[in-house]
């Protein structure tokens, strides 16, 4: 069991910009922390720095308060599950599981007992004599997990452990990882680019982009109060609608026009003038019979029915901001709304929606969240 600290850690490879830049993070004992970000954001490098597979250019990495920068991987007592599992192809499942214990020169009897116990925990009993090539993807993943937890490491590191599996298996194993982690209580760092995995698994989630930690918080905090435009545009499916905002003033105070709707600025913003406005798709509401909310009439561009709800893309009344690169599926220059599926809509129709003013988020010129 261990606490992990990153203190102002940077990693530069020769002649390349920093892959990880001034990264600070504390993971308390027993937490499952997810590092989330698009590919190339530095999240895997961060994990490898902790494993001892890379050495930081600057800063300190601590395990239980001890600086481990110079420690070899074998000394750190961390275990890692790799994306491609990295099972030793020439060894049986049993030998794979025993390998970390053999390297630690544990007595034969103890090794055998540990391997059996781990195999039972992960239901690998029937597979012990097989070679990795004779296993399915899900079984390999389980063996990789087993090899990591067989030696009671101080920290679990998981680098995209589920991304080579099909969707159904991924959901199943996701649940298993969560239960195992809860049961063992081992501090875990989990790297993924999949926001669903991050939201469902992480006690807390750290969002990274371009080597910089963007936001750290519980999944709900990240979703409700993204700290900047990147996080807002990265999380959610479809992600937050983001627009350039022009602040106007009248007798009732400052506001932003969203088509015909007058969206009043919250007083909490104070003197800061927002440059951008963000609306989650569920902030556009169809169920406002009393007309309490400011409303706007928009034309339907396209509809994605999802069974229990529908994602409706509508003409954008303001200039949209290009969001994160992974969300290209959305219809360009549009605003997405998440609406119940009980009334059919089709392209070209007009529809009047209320704006849930409390759910509107504001960002300054630099993209940082306001309020």
């Amino acid at each position: 069991m261990a606490q992990v600290d990153f203190k102002n850690v940077s990693k530069r490879f020769a002649d390349v910009n920093a892959v990880v830049h001034d990264f600070s993070l504390c993971v308390p004992d027993g937490e499952l922390l997810v590092l989330l970000g698009p590919s190339g954001c530095g999240k895997s490098t961060t994990l490898r720095l902790l494993a001892g597979l890379e050495q930081p250019t600057d800063g300190e990495i601590l395990l239980d308060g001890q600086v481990v920068n110079d420690w070899s991987p074998q000394r750190r007592n961390v275990a890692m599950v790799f994306q491609n599992y990295a099972l030793y192809p020439h060894m049986s499942v049993r030998q794979n599981l025993a390998f970390p214990l053999r390297m630690r020169r544990q007595p034969r009897v103890e090794i055998a007992a540990k391997v059996d116990e781990t195999a039972r925990l992960l239901e690998l009993g029937a597979l012990l004599e097989r070679k990795p090539a004779q296993l399915s993807g899900g079984q390999r993943q389980r063996v990789a997990m087993g090899r990591a937890l067989v030696r009671d490491p101080a920290v679990f590191l998981m680098d995209e452990p589920l991304s080579n599996l099909d969707a159904k298996l991924r959901v199943q194993l996701r649940g298993e990882i969560a239960r195992l982690q809860q049961r063992l209580g081992t501090t875990t760092l989990y790297v993924t680019h999949d926001q669903t995995e991050a939201m469902t698994l992480g006690h807390r989630v750290a969002v990274m982009q371009a080597g910089v930690l963007q936001q750290l918080g519980s999944p709900q905090e990240l979703y409700d109060r993204p700290s900047n435009l990147f996080v807002a545009g990265f999380l959610g499916s479809p992600p937050m609608n983001l627009f350039e905002a022009k602040v106007q003033r009248d007798a009732q105070g400052a506001f932003v026009s969203f088509g015909t709707a007058r969206v009043p600025l919250p007083t909490a913003l104070g003197a800061d003038a927002p440059a951008y406005l963000g609306l989650r798709p569920e902030a556009l509401r169809h169920d406002d019979p009393e007309g309490v909310l400011p409303d706007v009439t928009l034309t339907v561009l396209s509809v994605e029915p999802l069974g229990y709800e529908q994602i409706v893309y509508l003409t954008a009344p303001l200039a949209p901001v290009a969001s994160a690169p992974e969300t290209e599926a959305e219809v360009k220059n549009s605003v997405a709304a998440r609406l119940p599926a009980d009334y059919p809509l089709s392209a070209g129709e007009s529809i009047t929606l209320g704006i849930d003013v409390d759910k509107v988020r504001y960002f300054d010129r630099n993209g940082e969240a306001l309020g």
Binding site: A51, P73, F82, Q83, N84, H90, F99
Partner: protein, 273 residues
């Protein structure tokens, strides 16, 4: 189907013609000396009529064949085994470890690849005999252990192995050498086979170096011994062929057992670029 069969028949006939010199040698080795030359110009060359093993007995009576054979076996086994160890170590250090001077050493290895042995045989001969080192087995082994081509083959193979395997081993608690022997070597059988076979094919037939280096029978290997046996009067072709037939046996056995690896080894060494 007919086309296929006729192709196979044609190819088999071609192969038989192509291997006529081999047949000539084997069948000749079983005949009385005088008949070998006399019958070489007719079909009788391929008829082992009156076969006898006398020639084989004569070889042992005339020269210490067993000594040549042991010399060759010992020299080649040592070059191959030491070479596998030394060159795979070097290839691994170049491919996977980070150390100052790595790039420079890699450049040296690649530069040395271009130098053919024949270009340095004479100066190497003088360099070593100036030290009084010649006419033993070691002088036919030690200079050939480190081999730039072998290092390069190992280097390229290790470079292509998934890095995670070693990383997993390091995290699981293995040091550099342990990782190499427990994880890398068992997963690199093809490159070890390729290097072993390419090395063997070259040094099993090496002639120039023992010609320069050996003066007596003490450390003389087979390729030089057959050439000298050929010029040893009286000229008896049956004996020469018996000598030849015996000297190909060790590699022939290896070839038959490991045929797939031979072909694959040569091919990978061939298309490495």
């Amino acid at each position: 189907m007919l086309k296929r069969i006729s192709l196979i028949v044609l190819l088999t006939l071609t192969a038989l013609c192509y291997l006529a010199p081999v047949a000539l040698m084997i069948i000749g080795s079983l005949k009385p000396d005088a008949r070998v030359l006399a019958e070489a110009g007719s079909w009788l060359a391929f008829v082992p009529e009156g076969a006898t093993l006398d020639n084989y007995r004569d070889v042992f009576a005339r020269v210490p064949f067993e000594r040549y054979l042991l010399s060759s076996l010992w020299i080649n086994a040592a070059i191959v085994l030491l070479g596998l160890l030394v060159n795979s170590f070097a290839g691994y250090a170049l491919a996977r470890l980070r150390w100052p001077g790595r790039k420079a050493v890699l450049a040296v290895v690649i530069a040395l690849l271009v130098i053919p042995f024949e270009a340095i045989a004479v100066p190497l001969f003088y360099q070593l005999s100036a030290l009084g080192w010649r006419d033993d087995h070691a002088v036919q082994i030690i200079p050939f252990v480190a081999n730039p081509l072998a290092i390069y083959l190992f280097y390229s193979f290790f470079l292509a192995l998934p890095r995670e395997l070693e990383e997993a081993a390091r995290i699981d608690g293995a040091g550099v050498l342990r990782t190499f022997f427990t994880v890398i070597v068992p997963n690199s059988k093809p490159v070890f086979a390729t290097v072993a076979i390419v090395t063997l094919l070259f040094y099993w037939g090496i002639y120039l170096w023992p010609l320069l280096m050996t003066t007596g029978d003490h450390a003389r290997p087979l390729p030089l011994a057959i050439a000298m046996f050929h010029t040893l009067p009286p000229l008896q072709w049956g004996d020469i062929f018996a000598f030849g037939a015996m000297m190909v046996v060790p590699v022939l056995v290896l070839f038959v057992v490991l045929q797939r690896w031979f072909v694959r080894g040569v091919a990978t060494a061939g298309i490495r670029e």
